[in-house]
């Protein structure tokens, strides 16, 4: 009788962790809102890549960010190594909060004299494409202006510089995502603890090049 009881409880005892692990397994299957968001981003990435057509796919990058109580920027460098037109496809559907600013430069942040080649404000919940031909024009415009302002050049030198400017192309692009400041928001959980609310967002960039 004694042994039977002991065996009975031992069986319950042994089975118990299995029940628990089954419960845990079930929990794992549930998708959290954050995971759902990541799945959604994957879908956005697909359509971002599709928007590259008829350009050829070169790469894609998802930039995650959270709003802080000050403005800040994140920089993405891309190499446009072929003397071809590149298409940049942006998908900002992962931005549900305040719109961000996209600025594209010819040089990285540390250069104060870098040239702004493209700018778009208040980007959120949308998608769009741009191509590098307009940026090359901006670069040439800025370089020509620099040349006009420089009075030290002789006419001969000026003509030579002009011919050089005509040949210029963009080999690298620096894309700055300027994330606007957002007020700190706190909220209390069920136990009365104060927690800072962090709003996250993401922007997807796909790059393609002309194959012609």
């Amino acid at each position: 009788m004694n042994i039977r009881y002991i065996l009975f409880f031992l069986i319950i005892f042994i089975l118990n962790p299995n029940f628990e692990s089954q419960k845990k397994g079930k929990k794992k299957e549930e998708t959290t809102p954050y995971q759902e968001y990541l799945i959604l981003l994957r879908e956005y990435k697909k359509s971002c890549r599709t928007a590259l057509k008829p350009f050829r796919y070169d790469g894609a990058l998802t930039t995650h960010f959270s709003y802080k109580d000050y403005d800040y920027s994140k920089e993405v460098e891309i190499a446009t190594i072929q003397n071809q037109i590149y298409r940049l496809s942006f998908n900002a559907n992962g931005i549900t909060g305040d719109g961000i600013k996209i600025k594209i430069f010819d040089k990285p942040k540390k250069f104060r004299t870098r040239i702004l080649l493209y700018e778009k404000e208040n980007v959120s919940a949308s998608d769009f494409i741009i191509e590098t031909d307009i940026m090359i024009e901006e670069l040439k415009k800025a370089k020509n202006k620099e040349l006009e302002n420089n009075t030290e050049f002789s006419d001969e030198e000026r003509n030579y510089q002009k011919s050089i400017i005509e040949k210029l192309r963009v080999k690298k692009l620096y894309i700055d995502y300027v994330i606007p400041a957002s007020e700190r928001v706190f909220e209390e959980d069920e136990e009365g603890n104060e927690k800072r609310v962090i709003t996250k967002a993401a922007i997807i960039l796909a790059v393609g090049y002309s194959n012609i």
């Binding site: 409880f9 031992l10 628990e20 929990k27 070169d58 190499a79 670069l139 210029l168 192309r169 962090i198």
Partner: protein, 293 residues
């Protein structure tokens, strides 16, 4: 009677023990739940740490693009230029496997863009083997890639679209698993291989326009160095490689044809003199040997 009492005590003991065990388990699960709840909260109420919080990211071009530069320069396919497949068994460290995964990716694209499908098929298989060693096998297992590739041999468009598919899957895998360090090393391999193939062709060719290839690829060398220096685990192999690439870049920047362009070098293609090509080529070939042998 004593036995019966003992029975009851045993039962009680086991009951208490089993109950205690259950409560411990449930306490653990609650703790996990709390953590999970944080992440499973509404998006705007998450306190999850943003793991991709770098303020600067370099997005390298794909190995396919590197191979397509070679192809557009009308460089003919040369047998024996690509890394020998049998070398794959020499790569025993993760670093060597990762960097040569990039080398073979470039070789694969080089073969495909030149319609050398039999060779391409071999490079696809060796890439798959190396991918398995660095934990990226799933890329090649999905959609029966190797079988599809073999079934489409001869159909350039289909083969290219399979190659682009592999590229996208690789990009996604690297992103999903936060493997940006691996991505830098892998891309460096593809870059060195592109330079190696280009260099060999330039040495046997006086066409100055082909030397533009070198300047196109050198454009990204500084970014590669920056990326390699930022890799978290700085092994001896990695430091040596980065230093070696830096030497090549410095030598390139000191070439007369490069120097004379001044500030505009950032925006211009440079045609190198043949002797300049020779001097820089030797360094590139050494660099390539360092990673493949």
């Amino acid at each position: 009677m004593i036995m019966r009492k003992f029975d009851i005590y045993s039962l009680l003991f086991l009951f208490v023990f089993a109950t205690f065990n259950i409560s411990c388990e449930s306490e653990n699960s609650e703790t996990i739940n709390e953590v999970q709840d944080d992440s499973s909260d509404d998006l705007s109420h998450s306190i999850e740490i943003d793991t991709m919080d770098d303020d600067y990211v370099f997005m390298p071009p794909s190995p396919i693009q590197i191979a397509s530069i070679l192809n557009k320069a009308n460089m003919k396919y040369e047998e024996g230029l690509a890394n020998n497949i049998s070398n794959a068994k020499l790569y025993s460290t993760k670093f060597k496997q990762s960097i040569n995964f990039g080398v073979y990716a470039c070789d694969l694209a080089y073969c495909v863009t030149n319609e050398k499908y039999e060779e391409a098929s071999k490079y696809l298989k060796v890439s798959k083997d190396l991918a398995a060693k660095i934990g990226m096998e799933s890329i090649f297992l999905s959609d029966n890639l190797v079988e599809r590739f073999e079934a489409n041999v001869g159909n350039q468009d289909s083969i290219m679209s399979i190659l682009f598919h592999v590229q996208m899957m690789t990009d996604d895998y690297i992103y999903d698993n936060d493997l940006s360090d691996l991505s830098v090393i892998y891309f460096t391999g593809a870059w060195v291989e592109g330079m190696n193939i280009g260099t060999h062709t330039m040495l046997g060719n006086d066409d100055h326009k082909i030397s533009i290839l070198l300047s196109e690829q050198m454009t990204i060398a500084r970014s590669i160095i920056r990326g390699l220096r930022a890799v978290k685990s700085q092994t001896e192999d990695l430091v040596d490689l980065t230093d070696h690439i830096e030497e090549v870049v410095n030598a390139y920047n000191n070439l007369w044809s490069v120097k004379q362009e001044g500030e505009n070098i950032e925006y211009l293609d440079v045609e190198l003199k043949h002797e300049e090509v020779i001097s820089i080529s030797e360094m590139i070939l050494e660099l390539r040997e360092e990673i493949t042998l």
